[in-house]
Structure formats: structure tokens, C-alpha cells
């Protein structure tokens, strides 16, 4: 790579073609998704590892901690979180992804632009908020069944079982993702309403990249729901 091997291009290169920029951004979003896949894999590994080791038979079992109860100190088996409710949340997330997926593809195929996509993105964002609210309810249901241990006289310290802990991790992660999806959905809706999402050049690629991430979050939700529904007790 000596200096004589450097030749000047015919044109200045700092105005890049839209497809070049789009390719770069596409790889970027895929790499972020790869990082997120690893994160979810580590969460599911945690869930399965704790289930597999079941240390001290404590995966779902805790000791009765109410000092006034006759059965104080007896093991209590925690209830499994409602699989139906879990799948309901997942269904809402999948529906929001489907809205983004089919809406984006259809509009791109129809060469339609801003106005229509604004509505689609807003609907998807709303569904993400609904899923967020349902996830908060799910998290609170863990809280309501929270067992506790008696640490010392008259002082109760609450402690989740390993199962409850793993569910908090998975649901908490899902909630964070849904907040990001809502941000992206409403952001796209606002941008589309301003004419910043259209079929011209790069302006559409943002919608496509959001779709990639949205579909991944939905897929991750399906995987999580499947694992926690099939492997729990």
C-alpha cells in the first residue's frame, strides 16, 4: 500500500450513495440485535440453570414465615405464574410486530408514504404500551405472591424464590424492550406525520430497521413464554 498505489477517485467520496448508508445501518441494527440475543440467552440460561440446580429444593418452595400461623416453618409451594396471561402478553407483542411488519411491507409495495405509515406506527406503539401495562400487571402478580422469611423477631424481610427471581428478570427485561418499542413506534409516527418517512431513499430504511428490532422482540417474547410455560415446576 505504498503511496503510488493510491489513486484519486473520479468524484469526491464524502457524499455516499443511500444504499451504502442503508447497508451500513442494516448491519448495525443486526449487530445490536445479536447483542440483545446474547442478553436474552443469558436470562434464559439463568432461568434454566436455577430450575436445574433447584438448590435446597428452593426453586419454588419457601418456608412459611408468618409467626402467628400454626404452620410456621412449613414449606409452601409457590404458584406458577399464569401461562395464559404470559401468552396473552406475547400475543399483544406479536400483534404489534405484525402491524409493523405487514404495514411497512404493504406500504412499501404500494409506494405509499407518510400519512398511512404514521397511523400504523402509532397503532404499533399503542400495542407496545398495552403489552407494557400487562407486563407490569404480571410483575405485580409476582409481588402479590411474594413469600417471605423471618429474619429476626418482628422483622420480616421479603425474599423471592429462585423462580420468582428469574421471572422478575425476564419480565423486567421484556418491559424495558416494550418501552423502547413504544418510543420507536411513536417516534416513527411523528416522523411519518412530518413526511420524514417516505419511500424515497434512506427515509424508508428507518422503518425497516425498526421492523427488524420489533420482530426480534416479538420472537424473544415467544421464546421466553415457551420456556417459562413448558419448564417451570
Amino acid at each position: 500500500m505504498s503511496s503510488d498505489t493510491i489513486e484519486h477517485e473520479a468524484s469526491h467520496g464524502h457524499h455516499e450513495a443511500p444504499e451504502v448508508v442503508e447497508g451500513r445501518q442494516r448491519l448495525g441494527i443486526w449487530l445490536f440485535i445479536v447483542g440483545d440475543v446474547i442478553m436474552l440467552a443469558s436470562f434464559i440460561f439463568t432461568y434454566l440453570y436455577l430450575r436445574g440446580t433447584n438448590t435446597g429444593n428452593g426453586w419454588m418452595t419457601y418456608l412459611q414465615g408468618d409467626t402467628n400461623a400454626a404452620n410456621y416453618g412449613q414449606p409452601v409451594h409457590e404458584k406458577v405464574l399464569s401461562a395464559g396471561f404470559n401468552w396473552t402478553i406475547t400475543a399483544v407483542i406479536v400483534a404489534s410486530a405484525a402491524v409493523v411488519w405487514f404495514g411497512e411491507k404493504h406500504l412499501r409495495a404500494q409506494q405509499k408514504g407518510a400519512g398511512s405509515f404514521s397511523l400504523i406506527a402509532a397503532v404499533a406503539g399503542l400495542l407496545a404500551i398495552v403489552a407494557s401495562a400487562l407486563t407490569v400487571i404480571q410483575l405485580r402478580s409476582i409481588d402479590e405472591h411474594m413469600p417471605y422469611h423471618l429474619l429476626s423477631q418482628n422483622v420480616h424481610e421479603f425474599t423471592y424464590t429462585a423462580y420468582g427471581s428469574a421471572e422478575i428478570l425476564l419480565n423486567g427485561s421484556s418491559l424495558l424492550h416494550l418501552i423502547v418499542l413504544a418510543f420507536l413506534g411513536f417516534g416513527l409516527a411523528i416522523r411519518a406525520s412530518k413526511g420524514l418517512v417516505s419511500s424515497e431513499g434512506l427515509k424508508w430504511s428507518q422503518a425497516r430497521f425498526v421492523r427488524f428490532f420489533w420482530v426480534w422482540v416479538a420472537l424473544g417474547s415467544v421464546i421466553t413464554a415457551a420456556v417459562t410455560s413448558l419448564i417451570n415446576k
Binding site: 500500500m1 467520496g13 451500513r24 448495525g28 442478553m39 435446597g56 425474599t159 429462585a162 420468582g164
Partner: protein, 623 residues
């Protein structure tokens, strides 16, 4: 400091006046960070039950998160996402302003998107963090100069030891990949900037955001559980663990962003003719290191998230009395921990191989084998984590396979040695300071590597794991190898960022102090370990005194060497001998652009027609 110039006269000038966002800088970052931290500390008093034992943990966690968000806001990192959300896209003038156009030295204190500015910022940040970690090392060694010296009490000693470890890990992760992965790598590719300039600035300032809560641990009780923060001790220790955990999660955000940016830049922004088999070896090392970091670091964030939840939200990931297990932590930590060693090492190796070929005036010996060696190290590094757990009793039936994978990794590592030695062999050696640091690296890494092979054997590890032998081993790798590589890289590329040479005489003095210091410190530490001295202890039996005195003298010697190099950098940056654009007569692209490097690096993008290591061949023979 670098003074980049703009050759793109056609750009519309950046406006300097007006706008809240244009007034944001490091100072406003600190101010908003403190506001965020205070809000984070006091708001829980209104919303949480402050009777529980976890209340203090909740307050410190939220306070540390408040710091990070406040700092991001104050430095301007959140402006991009929110402007996107509201549909206020950046104008070209905004982008030029963010790139630091016409802002002189002020841009080094701002959220600047110019990759060269980010590179210099990373260099300074790495030196600050290395300095802090080095001071802690001196305090630790001073405490260990005699048995029961009580130079510091045992809690403070534990805090120093833990923070020293993590500071050094973080600073070494960024020591090569930060400055040179930003300043040099895009130019080596023939790119005008990184793929995502704003994310590039985000990665830099996120490390700053992480460093503050990390250092804060010292002032709120410290972390008592070592840099590995093994559970369940990490659940039981003081509130310093909370800020430590938030610092790590924040740092993981930075490395993830940086990893995506690095891989994207190399894969999509290479200039015409810069095929993968023509990439400079340092760029290959950046690619492999960045991809490996992308894989490894999320495990650390997950582990730290679980630590925070256990401490402040009543979960039981690591508490055996509620169904959790400490082995979960160990698996998570080392799933990150071992690849992270190579996230640190591989960029340093890449930089040193650049030095080897330039200062031997020979093509890189077996270029493709070198790439294969680095890729092999990265691939195997994700399959060796449990060798850190041989003595824990976890899955003993897997001991054999993990011993095998650990020993296998010595093969690609050995290949890298062969490439370095093969490049130097019968070369026309030009023994300038960067080359001397390379020689030191080769000598030290042999010792660090071979002792690693010993420790990969389960019987030896069972005997040595809890001793100073292991400490000596990994310090030969991190100090003797990576730090030598990082400093060699500074001596090599400093003329490109400053337009001046580092002083040769001071460089040699620094090298010999550091090299002799490493041998004195860590060979004596090997002896301490072989004689059975346990690691992590604040005091020890009298029989270990002699070797500890020697190690402490050696550590001071290393510090003296580091201070000479620091003085060299400061003095040479101000008044060093001018170097010109290509003082080493190198053939990679970063040396073929002017110094100072223009804002967009190339007036016109180059077209590459040969590989970068055609030293010793007749001009044009390979064109």
C-alpha cells in the same frame, strides 16, 4: 493536541451561536450528573418504605443510575434520540458542529463525533484510569511490604484490591482499542469516519459516566469482595457494591456500542480495493476484538443486574437459602471473563504486529496465519471459562474438556508468537522505542503464556489457584504483555496524533524501568506463590516477607517507568521534535494522510491496489 483541518471547502460553515445543545460540554455533564444523582438519592425517600434493610441499596442504585442519565443528558448524548423522536433531524451544519469543526481545543471537552478527537479522548481517559489503578497498586504493594504492616486497615485494603482490579481491566480494555481503534483504524480502512459517529462519542462518554460511580465506591465503604465480586459475598457487602454494579452495566453499554461501531466500520466502510486480505493487521485485530466483546460483555451486564436485584429488590439468584446459587454468578462472570482477556489482548497484539513489520522492514510473516491465530484465540476463548472454576467443585466431570480447550488455546497463541518472531527474523531491524516495547512484550508474554498452560492442568490449578502464583501469571499477561503493547502503540502512533516524536531517551529509560520492574515484581511473586502464599490477603506469614519486599521494590520500579512515559507524553506533546506525516516510512494509510489529519481524513478516497506490507520489495512490484 491534534489540530484537525478541514479540506472540504464546499461545506456550509458551522454556526457557533445559539442553542442549548451547543453549550453542552463535560462541565454541564458533571453538573447534570450530580443533579441526577441527588434526585436519585432523595426521591426514593418519598416513594419507598425506608424501614427495610435494602433501602440504602435502593437509594444508591437509583442515585448511580441518576448520575449516568444526568451525565448523558448534560453532555448531549440524549439529544440525538430525542431529536429523532420529535422529527427534528440534524442539519449538515449541526453535524459539522458535532464533528468539532472550527472549535479548536474546546472540542476535546465536548460530545464530539470526529473519530480522531474520540481517539485522543480515549487515550487521555485510559491514562487517567491506568494512573488511578496504578496508584492503588502502589498502595497495595506498600501494605504488603511487611507482614501485618497495617499501612491501611483490612477493609480499606480489600477496597483498594477490588477497585485496582476492575480499574485495570476497564482501562486495559480501552487502552489500545479506544485510542487507536478510533484514531487509526478508520483511516487504515480508508474511511472518512466511523460508521456511527454519534455512537462513537456515546461509547467514549459512557466510559466516563461509568468511571465516576466506579471510583465513588472508595468513598462509600468500598467493595470488599475482590474484582470478581463473587456471590454471595457481593450480596452481603456494603453499598459500594451498588455503584460498582451500575458502573459495570454502564461500561457494558459502552463496549457494546463500540463493538457494533467497530465491526460495522470495518465491514462496510473500507475504501475501494481494501479487500479483507489487504486489511492492516491492526484493523483485523480491532474487528476480532470488537466482535468478541460484543459476544462476551452482555453476560457481565446480566450478572450485575442480578446482583443489584438480589441486593435491592429481594430476589434470590445467588442466595442458596432461597433457591439461588453462587455458581450461577461464577458461570456468568467467567463466560464474560475469559473472552474479555482476549478482548484486551488481541488489539494489543495487532498493534505490535504493525510495529514488527514496520521496524523490521519486512512483510508481515504469514499474514493469513496471523489472522487465523487471532480468530482461533477468539473462537476458543468462549469455550474455556470453567477453568477458572476448577477449584469450586462445579461440574467436575467437565474438568477434562475444559482443560483440553484451555490447552488448545495455546496453539493459536503460539502461532501469534511465530508470526511476530518470523516477521522480526532476519529483518533489517530499526530499534526505535516502539520496537523495544515489542521485544519486551515477546519476552513477558512467553512467561505469562507458559505459566497459563501450567495452570490449565487441573492438578496444578488445584494447588496454585488460591496463591500468588496465579496473580503473577495474569500480571505477566496484563502488565508485561498488554500494557507493554499499549505503550508500544503510543510510541508508534503518537507522531500521527501530535505531529511530534516522543523522546527516544526517555522512552528507553521508561522501558528498562518497566521491564526490569516487571521481572522483579512478578518473578518474586511466582516464588511467593510456589511457597504457598495465598492471594487477596492483607497480611501474611513472615516466611513470605523477602519475596514481598522484592515485589514491592519491583512495583515501585514499574511505577517509575510509567511516570517517565507519562512525563514524556506531556512534554513531547508540547515541545517534542516535529515528526512529519510519516516518520517511520510506513505503508498503511494512516501514515499517508497529512499530519494533522484533515477532518474527513482524505481529500479524495484512495483506491488500494496492493497489501500494506510490501517492505523490502521493489517499488511497484506488487502494484
Amino acid at each position: 493536541m491534534t489540530a484537525t483541518i478541514d479540506l472540504q471547502k464546499s461545506h456550509s460553515p458551522a454556526t457557533n451561536g445559539g442553542g442549548f445543545l451547543r453549550r453542552l460540554n463535560f462541565g454541564t455533564g458533571i453538573i447534570f450528573g450530580i443533579i441526577g444523582a441527588l434526585l436519585g438519592y432523595f426521591l426514593p425517600h418519598h416513594f419507598f418504605d425506608n424501614q427495610g434493610s435494602a433501602f440504602a441499596d435502593q437509594c444508591t442504585v437509583i442515585s448511580a443510575v441518576g448520575w449516568v442519565i444526568g451525565f448523558w443528558f448534560g453532555i448531549g448524548a440524549l439529544a440525538g434520540p430525542f431529536k429523532w423522536f420529535l422529527g427534528w433531524d440534524q442539519t449538515h451544519a449541526d453535524e459539522m458542529y458535532l464533528a468539532g469543526k472550527d472549535q479548536g481545543k474546546k472540542r476535546y471537552w465536548k460530545y464530539c463525533t470526529d473519530h480522531k478527537v474520540v481517539g485522543v479522548q480515549y487515550l487521555v481517559l485510559a491514562m487517567v484510569l491506568l494512573g488511578a489503578g496504578g496508584i492503588l497498586a502502589m498502595l497495595i504493594r506498600t501494605d504488603l511490604i511487611s507482614p501485618g504492616s497495617h499501612f491501611v486497615n483490612q477493609q480499606v485494603y480489600n477496597s483498594f484490591l477490588s477497585l485496582h482490579g476492575m480499574l485495570m481491566i476497564i482501562s486495559l480494555i480501552i487502552a489500545v482499542a479506544g485510542p487507536w481503534g478510533n484514531f487509526v483504524m478508520p483511516i487504515q480502512c480508508g474511511a472518512r469516519d466511523m460508521a456511527f459517529p454519534r455512537l462513537n462519542a456515546l461509547s467514549l462518554w459512557t466510559v466516563v459516566a461509568a468511571a465516576v460511580p466506579l471510583l465513588t465506591t472508595l468513598f462509600i465503604g468500598g467493595i470488599q469482595d475482590g474484582w470478581t465480586t463473587y456471590a454471595p459475598i457481593s450480596i452481603q457487602t456494603g453499598i459500594g457494591m451498588n455503584t460498582f454494579a451500575i458502573a459495570i452495566i454502564t461500561f457494558v453499554i459502552s463496549t457494546t456500542v463500540a463493538g457494533v461501531n467497530t465491526v460495522c466500520t470495518i465491514m462496510t466502510m473500507r475504501t475501494t480495493g481494501m479487500s479483507l486480505d489487504r486489511l492492516p493487521i491492526f484493523t483485523w485485530a480491532s474487528l476480532i476484538g470488537g466482535a468478541l466483546g460484543l459476544y462476551a460483555m452482555p453476560f457481565f451486564a446480566t450478572a450485575m443486574t442480578m446482583t443489584i436485584l438480589d441486593r435491592s429488590a429481594g430476589t434470590s439468584f445467588f442466595s442458596a437459602d432461597s433457591g439461588g446459587t453462587g455458581w450461577l454468578w461464577e458461570n456468568m462472570f467467567w463466560l464474560m471473563g475469559h473472552p474479555e482477556v482476549y478482548v484486551i489482548l488481541i488489539p494489543a497484539v495487532g498493534a505490535l504486529l504493525e510495529i514488527a513489520t514496520v521496524f523490521s522492514r519486512k512483510p508481515l510473516f504469514s499474514y493469513k496465519t496471523a489472522i487465523g491465530g487471532m480468530a482461533g484465540i477468539a473462537g476458543l476463548s468462549i469455550l474455556v471459562w470453567a477453568h477458572h472454576m476448577f477449584t469450586t467443585g462445579w461440574a467436575p466431570q467437565l474438568g477434562g474438556p475444559f482443560m483440553l480447550t484451555t490447552e488448545l488455546i495455546s496453539i493459536p497463541t503460539g502461532i501469534i508468537f511465530l508470526v511476530a518472531v518470523g516477521t522480526i527474523w532476519r529483518g533489517n531491524l530499526w530499534m526505535k522505542t516502539p520496537m523495544i516495547w515489542l521485544m519486551g512484550f515477546i519476552a513477558n508474554f512467553i512467561i505469562g503464556g507458559v505459566t497459563g498452560i501450567y495452570l490449565s492442568d487441573i492438578p496444578v490449578d488445584n494447588t496454585m489457584h488460591g496463591t500468588m502464583f496465579v496473580v503473577a501469571h495474569f500480571h505477566y499477561v496484563f502488565v508485561g504483555s498488554v500494557l507493554f503493547g499499549a505503550i508500544g502503540a503510543v510510541y508508534f502512533w503518537f507522531p500521527k496524533i501530535s505531529g511530534r516524536f516522543l523522546d527516544e531517551k526517555m522512552g528507553r529509560i521508561s522501558f528498562w524501568l518497566a521491564f526490569i520492574g516487571v521481572q522483579v515484581t512478578f518473578l518474586a511473586m511466582f516464588v511467593s506463590g510456589l511457597r504457598g502464599m495465598p492471594r487477596r490477603y492483607a497480611s501474611y506469614q513472615a516466611i513470605f516477607e523477602h519475596t514481598n519486599v522484592i515485589s514491592t521494590i519491583g512495583a515501585y520500579t514499574i511505577m517509575a517507568g510509567m511516570l517517565v512515559s507519562l512525563a514524556n507524553i506531556i512534554l513531547s506533546w508540547r515541545s517534542g521534535e516535529p515528526s512529519g506525516p510519516n516518520p517511520w516510512h510506513s505503508k498503511t494509510l494512516e501514515w499517508l494522510v497529512p499530519t494533522p489529519v484533515p477532518l474527513e481524513n482524505f481529500e479524495v478516497l484512495p483506491v488500494i491496489e496492493s497489501d500494506p506490507y510490501t517492505y523490502g520489495e521493489k517499488e511497484g512490484a506488487r502494484a
